[in-house]
């Protein structure tokens, strides 16, 4: 089970012994180890509350891990506070609630993906260089939203907003995209469309994708490889073809502490 594509080459992302306990004492992650190959579309599957969201947020340090390390292309990205912006710039993020700034235009929303590359003085007057606009529009074209570039974000439907959010992540020219339940608020037809756009763009640009999902059918359809999570631990790692009923039961219905019994 542990011989997926990732091992031949150096992993794009290597998560080692990652744990996170929140201030309230809730343990969200417990010694998570995952390797992600460059350009891979990895789905992290699990029920809500399994720690998927915390895992992604540890990668771009929206959440500080309690223990463990993360390496990106061999460089350690956890621990130091310095250079955090440069680290985050390499990771695009897509959210369940899209998180667009609703009163700004679609184009400006995508342009915010370029902010980390630009000085604060230019940002102060809400102005972007021509080169950034080119990048932003191209990213919009990739998700087929360039025809609505000048509309306000709140005039778009949910699926369209998520496509714009993907364009914003692409505009960062990231190495990795972290997608946190990107289709949980969308109906099935739109959800498949959005996931297709995400996979296609990532493939063309060679971007690694970590995508949280809780629906098994999308994981079967889109994933190259699946990591199953339950109660903060990885309980499965393998191809989507290996997702048997037994394994799904382990991901979705396991009680905390059951794992040890099974292994014993």
């Amino acid at each position: 089970m542990m011989v997926p594509a990732g091992h031949a080459v150096e992993p794009s992302l290597s998560i080692r012994g990652l744990s996170k306990t929140y201030a309230g004492g809730v343990q969200a992650l417990n010694n998570v180890n995952i390797n992600v190959a460059p350009g891979e579309f990895l789905v992290i599957l699990g029920p809500s509350g399994a720690g998927k969201s915390t895992l992604l947020r540890c990668v771009n340090r929206l959440v500080e891990p309690s223990a463990g390390e993360i390496f990106h292309n061999g460089a350690k990205i956890t621990g130091r506070r310095r250079g955090l912006r440069a680290i985050r710039r390499q990771f695009g993020m897509v959210f369940q609630q899209f998180n667009l700034v609703k009163r700004l235009s679609v184009l400006t929303n995508v342009l915010t993906g370029r902010l980390a590359y630009r000085s604060i003085w230019r940002s102060l007057v809400y102005s972007f260089p021509e080169a950034d606009k080119c990048i932003a529009i191209e990213c919009l074209a990739r998700v087929n939203m360039d025809h609505k570039a000048f509309q306000r974000a709140d005039t778009l439907s949910g699926g369209e907003q998520q496509r714009v959010a993907i364009a914003r992540a692409l505009a960062q020219q990231p190495k990795v995209i972290l997608a946190d339940e990107p289709v949980a608020s969308l109906d099935p037809k739109i959800a498949r469309q959005v996931l297709s756009y995400l996979r296609e763009a990532a493939q063309e640009l060679g971007i690694t994708v970590l995508c949280n999902l809780h629906q098994v059918e999308y994981a079967r359809e889109f994933a190259e490889r699946v990591v199953g999570m339950s109660h903060g631990s990885v309980v499965f790692e393998g191809s989507s073809l290996e997702l048997t009923d037994d394994i799904l039961h382990r991901i979705y219905y396991r009680e905390p502490g059951e794992e040890e019994k099974e292994e014993a």
Binding site: N60, L62, L84, R85, A86, I87, R88, R89, F91, G92, M93, F95, Q97, F98, N99, L100, V101, K102, R103, L104, T108, T112, G113, L115, A116, I120, S123, L124, Y126, A165, R168, A169, Q172, L178
Partner: protein
Amino acid sequence: MAAPVAPVDGVLAALAARKRWRLHHIAGAAALIAFLLWCADGVNLRPRELAGALPLIGEYFYRMAPPKWEFSEVLWKPALETIYIALWGNVIAIVIGLPLGVLAASNVTRSAPLRAAAKALLNLQRSISEMIWAVFFVAAVGLGPFPGALALGVNFGGILGRLYAEALENIDPGPVEALAATGASRLQVILYAMFPQALPQFVTYNLYWFEVGVRSATVLGMVGAGGIGFELVTTIRLFEWRETGVVLLLILAMVTLIDLASTWIRARIY
């Protein structure tokens, strides 16, 4: 419950139990009434006084009719001045209130001492009425509309600053997280995710406090801080009630017009 009781009886009994007045209810009501009577005594509010006062007040309003329209010629300048004071009061309030409001908002400013300092300053400005500020500024820069605008600016700056801070605190945190995740700096996140969300609120508050400012500016003249209040006080002191009537009607017209204008603008900004 020992014996089985019909459900209706049970509910009725429960209702009766809820309705029964407890001793502390009676004591509370008595204390409240005593407090109110004590207050009424303190401000000379007695039924007989009130009955006597109402006709008197009616008579004074009656004396204002018919308004002496010629007087309005004198009033144009102070009336416009009132609006200018309100306008500049608002501008000064924005200049003072916006930075303080940003500093006082918990999701923008991380440093707790800085936040507390900003809040304390806003409270000081807010708690002291614009009339008292006006007295102070008249003493500092002399009589006229300028101290009036300063007084409104300082007081409204405190009020608006707090409202700005609340508007910022109530924005959707999602886009803020999204922009932080792109690697944007703190200031960029504030400019691109926080301000655009809070802006309509800011404009609404400013429009509303402009209306309030016009109403306040009508009385600043009582302490020599410009506007139509000076004419108002003078006519009342000289018992020129028909002139007073004109002033009151003009104030009413002014406030109504501005009310309509700001409703019109507000419908257009979202």
